[in-house]
Symmetry: C2
Subunit: 573 residues, 2 copies
């Protein structure tokens, strides 16, 4: 046993070291979602695909994305991600793929899938850490010649190294990244790359997504909409979320010469009326230089702002998918019996970030993937690969499925820690008649869009349960629960009435015959009267052969709805 | 509507910006656990207290820690944390409290509570962001004069600013940090600072922890052990976890001139026999300069290492609390009917990091805090403060309580995402006879110790479910489940037998009398014989007045055990 060393403050001072953010994430790759053999591969696909979609949309290009995963050896794969986007320049290729915390998105207030400038560079670091190989890049911007190069990252300095740069003679526009990874496993499970891309397709009906699996199987998710989502406009912050720190920091950076013009130019929704109201509340002249604002003065401004009713933040930074498109997308991929979709109006959460919640509820058909929102366990060492093909065949295992999205990017992991899951579970479904939410063939699609998604971690797989977000999610879910219950009840009522009518109709001739025996009244007239009685009593129309053609189909539906109804109303149904 | 701008790669290139890690965490404070009004205050206490404990232990000082929270206004508090540790020097005070990713712990392989160099500086940033105030510091190292100063952080540069430095004439050794925070709320809930400190006291029986609440109530958790945990020794990495990247990076940094000596000096457990075995497997001479290793050669080394049986990693870097101390601590604070504790031998997880799992299971008494491992919801706006005092009175609400710790630091949040919770829920408790784990007055104490805890995020509240960690946690829990069931069964059997004996004894004189009437045999002899029969049949001893004094107490216990037994064995009991 070595003798214990007593360590003084002076001794500790010698040990103080600074480390780069790249070293930090190299040692803590799990914080980027790059852990777990299956999860890692999905996270890699996620990073490349979200970057491609963001870039295409910004350049007004209908995205065509191809992801190919090839197996090179045991737990050794090469991932190739290709898009038709704007491409990278000689200057940006290193920063985009080989430097952490560098990028175009961090300082902008607009809805993007990426926002940190970490993801793709994290993948470069992982490739390097596990295989020693650089990431191969081919890119063309449409101007000048496309080029190929290799990117690595120096973790100690958090700097990119771009090598073997070579101009190419064949035309190419877009970006192709090819990276190798060891200690990863490809699975066709509910948390694998294929399911990730399926969900990406659901939330991005304008994107053409192709996947080629290690077995060489090609899956194409065709676009169901030929539009490019309108480009979200980078927003100014809304005053209602401004903190004292924001006022001070932004005031120092502002080109405005007066606090009044600073507030009007650097925040949205601030006009002359608001400035007048603020001036009445604060104890200093708003003609003051915003660079000179003291903490106390900035605090007065924030307090004054709270007294003013501002117009809600602009939604120009937000691009929800839209009720119709979610419906179409779910109908095409989940093929349910019915869908209810809802896009709520924008709200603001702490920090003045606008956000919006979209929900789709699909019932029956292939709804409810049976994975119940829980993640597949990572495979054990030595376990045989046993790809569960349930992803693609969409078997209905009568379990609720919660599909989470943030700015249209699927969230497959960390469900237990996410505001969306929490909101689903804290809604009192029983109040709406749904007794056992877990065991219903229901797909709950939730897309959270915001100019800044408050992820719980740099791995971006779960959303923080901020008060305003939770409230909005719950409101949206309650509205959906009401509509869903209403739909099922109405539908059931209608079908059951038709079944009753059929039953009565079946016995009307017999009853008419019996009555005729007793009363000697006209049998034909009696049948007509009895039929009229049944129809008015049940508020139904006369049977119409054409209309009734699908009745048998509906009757089959009823069986399923009845089963659900038993859940809905318990024993009272 | 503004016209849409089409953005080219060249245009995007202009927008590329780098941002500092401080700016990143300023915008994403939730990733540091600094979100939620209640949670934020707990996280702040956590950051200061873990730093103090680490520093005291390293300097071989029995920790005396005092935390005081005062309310300054609505959602406005000042937190003062004082320790008797080694203190900070003029050089280190800024780095320790005003620069992210700077510190002594990141590069060392030893069990520490802190490991990132982020926490305390994150608090400085938050204080600054919410109040504009610097953090006030008083510190003395025992050499030279103690001094006071104020620390702020420049987020753009991630650099500390130390101002108003003033030497003090009165003696002081240790560190006192005083910081103000707005938009936070103090609560005495299961996720509040008081519960955090209670759990800190349980896992650190050598620490004296005092807390003064905003109401001025002083709570002292006295130390139950007068020892300073042996200082963990910084470890060399174990070869079995070495990656190719490690071999290359460490080879380049090594002072050794040969690969053979590099492996022997820079890894633990590598001796001449291992080197011989490795040499046989690789296709190059181990006399090669380690700085010149190619990826392929390093890969050969890693493959060869896998063929060698190394001694398990040293546990010198690990300092579990120990079975006896956990028992004493739980007995003193939870006051249960029985406790079972277990410290498993060390294991290694991916990356070659040694870790160890400790479990304590306490049943009855104040066990099971009723919070069921779920977090209290954050208070709603405008909601009246309604401090739930259940923390301190420890009412037994017959619910399981999972107390999670990492390197003795309590984990109060993100339970749903933590390997510990996951392990508890994936153990098949029914197999051990425990039918409804959620509703038993059980406290499950789990301490995960490691030289590098794989936290899921920089907020350090949940542990990643690495394969080896999950396996070890499950094994430990299963062992505990067996022991717990065994204890309860044995105990129950013993007490029930004693009750039977009492019942028989009660009727023996009557039976003897009745037999005497028939057989005329000696009544006294019959009583003796009958008593002998009962005792041998039930394998019991003669009643001993002294010993039996607590029998009534045990009889009361039996009622509780019976209730638990019903859970244990279902209807078969």
């Amino acid at each position: 046993m070595p003798e214990e060393k007593i360590i003084t403050a002076e001794k500790l001072a010698e040990e103080f070291k600074e480390h780069s953010v790249a070293e930090f994430f190299k040692k803590n790759r799990q914080m980027l979602g790059l852990y777990g053999k299956v999860r890692t591969l999905t996270t890699i696909v996620h990073e490349y695909v979200t970057n491609s979609l963001d870039a295409c949309e910004e350049a007004r290009i209908l995205p065509e994305i191809e992801v190919k995963i090839e197996e090179l050896g045991e737990e050794y794969y090469v991932v190739t991600a290709k898009d038709n986007g704007p491409g990278l320049t000689h200057d940006t290729v290193g920063k985009a793929l080989g430097q952490l915390l560098a990028g175009t998105k961090f300082h902008r207030l607009m809805q993007m899938r990426g926002q940190q400038g970490i993801g793709a560079s994290g993948c470069t670091m992982l490739s390097q850490m596990t295989t020693g190989k650089p990431v191969k890049v081919i890119t063309g911007t449409g101007r000048g010649k496309p080029f190929a190069c290799e990117v690595t990252i120096d973790p100690k300095k958090n700097q990119a190294k771009v090598e073997n740069l070579q101009e190419l003679d064949k035309p190419f526009r877009g970006l192709m990244v090819q990276a190798r990874f060891k200690d990863v496993i490809y699975r066709e499970s509910s948390t694998g790359p294929l399911e990730y891309l399926r969900r990406t397709a659901i939330a991005n009906p304008h994107a053409q997504v192709t996947f080629i699996s290690p077995k060489g199987e090609k899956t194409t998710f065709n676009r169901t909409a030929n539009y490019i989502p309108k480009l979200p406009v980078a927003q100014k912050p809304h005053p209602s979320g401004a903190t004292v720190d924001d006022i001070i920091t932004m005031g120092k950076a502002s080109v405005a010469r007066k606090v009044s013009s600073f507030l009007k130019s650097d925040f949205e929704r601030v006009g002359d009326t608001a400035i007048e109201k603020i001036q009445k509340q604060v104890k200093f002249d708003l003609n003051k230089d915003p660079k000179q604002l003291s903490w106390d003065e900035a605090e007065q401004v924030v307090t004054a702002i709270k007294q003013v009713d501002f117009i809600a933040p602009s939604t120009e930074g937000l691009r929800p998918i839209g009720e119709e498109r979610i419906k179409k997308s779910l109908e095409s991929i989940v093929e349910p019996e019915f869908v209810f979709t809802l896009t709520r109006p924008p709200k603001v959460y702490a920090g003045g970030y606008p956000f919006e919640v979209e929900i789709g509820i699909a019932y029956g058909g292939k709804a409810g993937a049976g994975d119940n929102g829980t993640e597949e366990p990572e495979p054990k060492k030595g376990e045989e690969e046993n790809a569960t093909q349930k992803v693609m065949n969409g078997e209905n295992q009568a379990k609720v499925e919660i599909m989470r999205f943030a700015n249209r990017a699927p969230l497959l992991f960390d469900a237990g820690n996410c505001a969306i899951t929490e909101a689903v579970h804290t809604v009192d479904w029983k109040r709406y008649g749904i007794r056992d939410l877990e065991n219903i063939p229901l797909t709950i699609f939730i897309n959270f869009v915001s100019v800044h998604v408050p992820y719980t971690g740099a791995g971006k797989q779960a959303i923080t349960d901020e008060e305003e977000i939770m409230e909005e999610l719950r409101l949206a879910l309650m509205q959906c629960a009401r509509q869903t219950a209403h739909y099922i009840n109405t539908k059931r009522h209608e079908i059951e009435n038709k079944m009753k009518r059929d039953m009565f109709y079946k016995y009307i001739p017999e009853i008419a015959g019996a009555l005729n025996n007793i009363t000697k009244a006209d049998k034909k007239m009696m049948i007509d009267k009895l039929e009229y009685l049944v129809l008015t009593k049940l508020k139904l129309e006369k049977p119409d052969i054409e209309k009734e053609k699908d009745f048998e189909k509906k009757r089959q539906q009823l069986e399923r709805i009845k089963k659900f109804k038993a859940e809905l109303m318990g024993g009272d149904a």
